[in-house]
């Protein structure tokens, strides 16, 4: 099972990837100039397209091989697939996208047998951030999720104990939120 290649794991996770509207910059070449005219410049226009959020980025630049965006509910399914393929969990963390009113939770997985880093990411509402826990699948996720709850206030539903891990035991603030003021 562990001998699965990138193509297979991509296939296994592709059903979970969400479709998002993303903005791309398109370059429209200038029309061929009429006689006696200066050639025009190409025009750049922003366009919104529907895109399945599953990418295989350039490893040398990005440092990971597969990037999948899933819904919060599907994180658990993705974790089950990955532990079945003997992936281990490197880290869980959050990113506060305050302008979009969302909090992103990012999971990094890697493989011992060969180099294959898979990034699972999901977005949740910033006002009520909730993602189901994977601590029953990956025991190590317990602390990573507690840490993410400390820093971002993301509630991992089903987590056995979300009390502050790194922050003081009575902490009711989340310092990595962009609007946090000390």
């Amino acid at each position: 099972m562990a001998e699965m290649g990138l193509a297979e794991i991509k296939q296994a996770l592709s059903g979970l990837a969400v479709t998002d509207e993303i903005e791309v910059v398109k370059t429209i070449p200038a029309p061929p100039p009429a006689e006696g005219e200066e050639p025009g410049k190409p025009v750049e226009v922003k366009e919104k397209i529907q895109q399945t959020m599953l990418f295989t980025p350039d490893y040398a630049k990005k440092g990971y091989h597969l990037d999948v965006k899933v819904t919060p509910e599907d994180v658990v399914t993705a974790a089950r697939i990955l532990i079945g393929q003997e992936f281990f969990l490197e880290a869980i963390t959050g990113v506060d996208w305050i302008k979009e009113g969302q909090i992103e939770v990012v999971y990094d997985f890697n493989l011992w047998q060969k180099l294959c880093r898979v990034v699972i990411r999901t977005r949740t509402d910033r006002a009520k951030p909730e993602v189901p826990t994977i601590s029953d699948i990956y025991s190590g996720a317990n602390w990573h999720e507690r840490e993410t709850h400390d820093f971002f206030g993301v509630v991992f539903t089903g987590h056995p104990d979300l009390s502050p891990l790194l922050l003081p035991e009575d902490a009711d603030f989340h310092p990595l939120l962009k609007d946090f003021k000390a």
Binding site: L89, A91, D108, G140
Partner: protein, 372 residues
């Protein structure tokens, strides 16, 4: 005659290990529920030295964060310098001159030896042997002197720059390294004779503190802890970076999964690090130690980047999120001992307290790195 136990739960008691206990090597507290001498449940309590480095990263420029990376794991700080410098260089697309890469590997490996020596001394001290600590610190002192001569610091290094290192190494450093390797090679057999073959140490470590491969996977353990469980995983070979592919070195792997295996991995790693330093010094190319066109102010393109290095304690990862400005939007530090310690609670269940302390010693904890 003892009375019949009515409520089993009353037979247990809570024992606080730490936060100021020499065996925890820093301010770590472990809340132990004990049944006599046996551990029923252990709960590590973290955060005593939490400094929120990740928030600091969001409030300063890319270059200004470099000194912070020297203050995570103060025993092997250069690996953390290396990880951060490399992450930013990849994001920005800076080429590092070859000589600088060699110097990075040499100094990082020297630092790794220093870290393992300290671990060796302190670990044997935990088990009740005082003398090896003095010998190990004596050796380690030589490395710190050497590193001080080129980096200007003894522990909290800030030696690497985006695009190279800030100071070239000189002949004194090179001959000093060669002499040190000769010295440590002559002392390793003594360490093995006095400590590794010591029957008391063997009885304290052998077949005690099992950490299975499955447990390593579920908790994401890396470094010597994982290699003591028979998994050949080392970022230097697994995900080659810098000039490590140029070196001929082995990854020590032991399959016993016990405390002794993890002890042996670190002892063997010192020899392998010495091999890397030796080859590095022999192959050291001429040239500049700073990229000529390295930008003073970094503004990596929008997006996120992951970069991992093999620190003395395992895989140290940095996840950067850039929004194209001169400060990181998000900077996540994946510290190896955070994951390694998280398996302690499960691993030490049902163990005798002194054995659990030996197990904790083989995890090689550095608390500022866990708490960040």
């Amino acid at each position: 005659m003892s009375a019949e136990v009515i409520d089993k739960s009353l037979e247990t008691f809570v024992l606080n290990l730490g936060p100021q206990h020499p065996a925890t090597h820093g301010v770590l507290r472990v809340k132990l529920t004990m049944d006599g001498e046996y551990i029923v449940h252990a709960e590590p309590v973290l955060g005593y030295i939490h400094r929120m480095h990740e928030k600091m990263g969001e409030n300063r420029t890319w270059a200004q964060f470099m000194p912070n990376t020297g203050r995570l794991d103060y025993l092997a700080a250069l690996s953390y310098n290396h990880g951060y410098a490399m992450a930013a260089e990849r994001a920005e697309g800076i080429e590092v001159p070859e000589r600088a890469e060699y110097i990075r590997c040499i100094t990082v490996e020297m630092n790794r030896i220093a870290s393992h020596l300290l671990w060796f001394g302190a670990f044997v001290l935990d088990l009740g042997g005082f003398t090896p600590l003095l010998y190990a610190f004596d050796d380690r002192e030589q490395i710190l002197d050497l590193l001080e001569s080129v980096t200007g610091a003894r522990l909290t290094f800030c030696y690497f720059r985006f695009g190279g290192v800030y100071n070239d190494i000189d002949d004194n450093f090179i001959t000093g390294c060669r002499e040190f390797i000769k010295r440590l090679r002559s002392r390793m057999p003594m360490y093995h004779d006095l400590v590794t073959k010591n029957i008391i140490l063997i009885k304290r470590l052998k077949d005690i503190g099992p950490i299975s491969q499955d447990m390593c996977r579920r908790y994401g353990a890396t470094g010597p802890v994982l290699r003591g469980s028979g998994v050949n995983f080392d970022v230097r070979k697994h995900e080659p970076y810098s000039v490590y592919p140029e070196f001929d070195f082995d990854i020590p792997v032991y399959t016993e999964c016990d405390s002794m295996a993890r002890y042996m991995v670190r002892m063997d790693e010192m020899e392998q690090s010495m091999r890397i330093v030796e080859q590095g010094l022999n192959k050291l190319p001429e040239g500049p130690v700073m990229a000529a066109k390295a930008p003073k102010i970094l503004k990596p393109a929008k997006g996120d980047y992951y970069c991992a290095v093999e620190a003395a304690r395992g895989s140290f990862g940095i996840r950067l999120v850039s929004d194209g400005t001169n400060t990181p939007y998000r900077l996540k530090l994946r510290s190896p001992t955070f994951s390694n310690l998280s398996l302690f609670s499960e691993a030490c269940q049902g163990m005798l307290l002194p054995d659990a302390l030996a197990l904790m010693g083989t995890l090689d904890l550095v608390i500022p790195e866990i708490d960040r």
